[in-house]
C-alpha cells in the first residue's frame, strides 16, 4: 500500500502541477516539515515506515559481536582499513567491529526503587533474589516488607 502511495506523490511533480504542490506544501505543515527533513538529509529513503526502520526496531538489544562475523569482516577487508562503529551501534554487526570503548558500561547494582524508599529509607537494604529460575516451582520467598 505504501508503495502505491509514494508512486502517486512522485507523479505529482509534473510541470503543470508543480505550482499547486508548492502551494500545498506551504499550507500543509507536514509537507513543509518533510521538505525541511529532506533538505537536511537528502539521502533519506523513500519508504519511511518500511524495512530499514522496522528492522532497526526488531534488532534492539543487539550489542556484541559474533567472532565469526568479526573474522569474516576482517577477511573481506584485508587490504582496507578496519571500520569502527559509527554513531549507530545498533545495526547488525558484520560490517563494523566494535571496540571496548563502544560497549556500554556495566549496569549498577540493584537497589530499591526510590518510589518505595521515600517513606522508609532505612528499611530497604539491597536484597539478592534467587536467580535460578528452576527454583520457581517451590514457593520461594521474595522481599520481606515490614509495615
Amino acid at each position: 500500500m505504501s508503495e502505491k502511495l509514494s508512486a502517486d506523490s512522485r507523479c505529482e511533480q509534473t510541470g503543470d502541477e508543480k505550482q499547486d504542490t508548492q502551494e500545498k506544501e506551504a499550507v500543509v505543515p507536514e509537507r513543509a516539515e518533510e521538505a525541511k527533513l529532506k533538505a537536511k538529509y537528502p539521502n533519506l529513503g523513500q519508504k519511511p515506515g518500511g524495512s530499514d526502520f522496522l528492522m532497526k526496531r526488531l534488532q534492539k538489544g543487539q550489542k556484541y559481536f559474533d567472532s565469526g562475523d568479526y573474522n569474516m569482516a576482517k577477511a573481506k577487508m584485508k587490504n582496507k582499513q578496519l571500520p569502527t562503529t559509527g554513531p549507530d551501534n545498533n545495526l547488525v554487526t558484520g560490517d563494523h567491529i566494535p571496540t571496548p570503548q563502544d560497549l556500554p558500561p556495566r549496569k549498577s547494582s540493584l537497589v530499591t526503587s526510590k518510589l518505595a524508599g521515600c517513606i522508609w529509607p532505612a528499611l530497604f537494604p539491597p536484597i539478592d533474589l534467587p536467580c535460578n529460575q528452576e527454583d520457581y516451582s517451590t514457593p520461594a520467598d521474595g522481599i520481606r516488607l515490614i509495615t
Binding site: 515506515g49 521515600c118 515490614i146
Partner: protein
C-alpha cells in the same frame, strides 16, 4: 473553572475539579535511568496501584482505609510491597542484551486473600503472588523462638504450636515464569476474561498462555513474512475483549487494528474485523506512516468501543464500524509543524498510552512538558493539566494549561518552542470506579483526585 466529568454512576455532565493528592519519588534533578517509571496499573478494585520501572522493580501502593475523622481526604496510597521483578540478562546465543525494564503489569482478578499480577520485560513474563502474613506460629518442638535447633535429647514433652498475631508482613514471590516464547520484544500482555488464560504480544507474534502452564504456549498470530525484506508492519499492542473470551484485538505500526475471533481458527492470521481510517492521499507525507503508528489500544469497560492512541491523536472506535473511528480527539496538533525536529530527536517514536475512566465517559492520555489531556466524550470538553512539583500542595486544584500556537502568547500560556520534550507522560491510569488518576512523570508518580463536595 470547568473540569472534565469523571466516572461513577449516572452520565456525564457533572464537572469535576482535579486536585493534587500525592507525589511519589525523588525530587533531585539527576534522574537515574533505572528510576524511570515504565508502567502504571490499578488493580480491579482500585485499592492497589502497581508501578514498574526501567530497573526491573515493581512498587505496589495500597489505598488506606478512609478515615472518618478526616472526611475531606480520600484514602491515600502508601507503599504496600516492592520487589525486583526482572533482572538484566544476556542471551549469549544471540548476542542480545535483555533489558530488565518492566514493559507492562497486569493484575489478575482477586480470587482469595492473596493478590496476583503478571509483569513482563522484553522476553519473560512472571506471575507474582503478593500475600500478607499477620500471624506466626510459636511453640515449635524442634526449634527455639529464634530459630535455633533444640537438642532433641533435651525435649521431654510435646507441645502444640499456637498462632500468635505479628506485625503485618507483605511477601512477594514468583509463582510462574513464562520464558523463551518470544523471539522479538514483548510489548503487551492481557489477561483473558476467563481468568485462566492470557496473551503476550511481541513485534511479530502473539502467544496464548494458560496461567498454570509455563512450558508451552499457543501461537495465535504470526505476521512474520517468509522474507524479512518484505516486512512492512509490526504489532504494537494487543488486548483481550473484557467480556468475550474468544475475542482480542491487535494494533499495528501502520495505524490499523485487527479484531480476531479464536473460535474461527487456531491460528488467527486472518482477522474477523479490520479497522482502518481512510487516508487522504493528497496529505500524505514522509511522516504519515510514522505518526499513524498506534502505540496503545484499550477496550472500553463496556466492551462496545475501543480506543487507539497514535502520535497526535486518540480515536474511539465502535466495534461495529470498521471504516472509521466514531470520535477523534487531537492531543497536541501543534506538533504537526514540528515533526522534522521531533524525528531528529526520536520523540516521534514515543509510545503514549491512553485510558478510560470507569464509566467510559472520559478518556485520558499524556503529552510533553509533563502535560496530560482529558477528554469528556459527552460534553466534548477537553482539558490540559500539568504534573509538576509547583502545583503539589495538598488538595490544590490543578489549573488548566494552554499551549499557544499562534503569534501572540497570552499570560500563563506556554509556546510550543518552550515545551520540554524530555518531560513526557507516557503512562497514566484511571481508578476503575472513582475519580482518582495516577500519572507517571519520568521518575515521579503523581496521584490526583477530584475535589469532594
Amino acid at each position: 473553572m470547568a473540569g472534565v466529568a469523571g466516572g461513577g454512576g449516572g452520565g456525564g455532565g457533572n464537572d469535576f475539579q482535579w486536585c493534587f493528592s500525592q507525589v511519589k519519588g525523588a525530587i533531585d534533578e539527576d534522574v537515574a535511568e533505572a528510576d524511570i517509571i515504565s508502567t502504571v496499573e490499578f488493580n480491579y478494585s482500585g485499592d492497589l496501584l502497581a508501578t514498574g520501572d526501567k530497573g526491573g522493580r515493581v512498587v505496589i501502593f495500597q489505598r488506606e482505609q478512609e478515615n472518618k475523622s478526616r472526611p475531606h481526604s480520600r484514602g491515600e496510597y502508601n507503599v504496600y510491597s516492592t520487589f525486583q521483578s526482572h533482572e538484566p540478562e544476556f542471551d549469549y546465543l544471540k548476542s542480545l542484551e535483555i533489558e530488565e525494564k518492566i514493559n507492562k503489569i497486569r493484575w489478575l482478578p482477586q480470587q482469595n486473600a492473596a493478590h496476583f499480577l503478571l509483569s513482563t520485560n522484553d522476553k519473560t513474563i512472571k506471575l507474582w503472588k503478593i500475600s500478607e502474613r499477620d500471624k506466626r506460629a510459636e511453640g515449635y518442638n524442634l526449634k527455639d523462638e529464634d530459630g535455633r535447633l533444640r537438642d532433641p535429647f533435651r525435649i521431654t514433652s510435646l507441645r502444640v504450636p499456637i498462632l500468635k498475631p505479628m506485625d503485618l508482613m507483605v511477601e512477594a514471590s514468583p509463582r510462574r515464569i513464562f520464558a523463551n516464547a518470544h523471539t522479538y520484544h514483548i510489548n503487551s500482555i492481557s489477561v483473558n476474561s476467563d481468568h485462566e488464560t492470557y496473551l503476550s504480544a511481541d513485534d511479530l507474534r502473539i502467544n496464548l498462555w494458560h496461567l498454570e502452564i509455563t512450558d508451552r504456549s499457543f501461537n495465535i498470530v504470526d505476521i512474520k513474512p517468509a522474507n524479512m525484506e518484505e516486512l512492512t508492519e509490526v504489532i504494537t499492542a494487543a488486548e483481550f475483549h473484557p467480556h468475550h473470551c474468544n475475542v482480542f484485538v491487535y494494533s499495528s505500526s501502520k495505524g490499523t487494528i485487527r479484531l480476531c475471533d479464536m473460535r474461527s481458527s487456531a491460528l488467527c492470521d486472518r482477522h474477523s474485523k479490520f479497522f482502518e481510517e481512510p487516508e487522504d492521499p493528497s496529505s500524505r507525507s514522509f511522516f504519515s506512516e510514522i505518526i499513524s503508528s498506534i502505540s496503545d489500544v484499550k477496550f472500553s469497560h463496556s466492551g462496545r468501543y475501543m480506543m487507539t492512541r497514535d502520535y497526535l491523536s486518540v480515536k474511539v472506535w465502535d466495534l461495529n464500524m470498521e471504516n472509521r473511528p466514531v470520535e477523534t480527539y487531537q492531543v497536541h496538533e501543534y506538533l504537526r509543524s514540528k515533526l522534522c525536529s521531533l524525528y531528529e530527536n526520536d520523540c516521534i517514536f514515543d509510545k503514549f498510552e491512553c485510558c478510560w475512566n470507569g464509566s467510559d465517559s472520559a478518556i485520558m492520555t499524556g503529552s510533553y512538558n509533563n502535560f496530560f489531556r482529558m477528554f469528556d466524550r459527552n460534553t466534548r470538553r477537553d482539558i490540559t493539566l500539568e504534573a509538576s512539583r509547583e502545583s503539589s500542595k495538598p488538595r490544590a486544584i490543578l489549573k488548566p494549561r494552554k499551549v499557544c500556537t499562534g503569534g501572540k502568547r497570552k499570560k500563563d500560556e506556554i509556546s510550543v518552542d518552550s515545551l520540554d520534550f524530555n518531560k513526557k507522560i507516557l503512562h497514566t491510569a484511571w481508578h476503575p470506579t472513582e475519580n482518582i488518576i495516577a500519572v507517571a512523570a519520568t521518575n515521579n508518580l503523581y496521584i490526583f483526585q477530584d475535589k469532594i463536595n
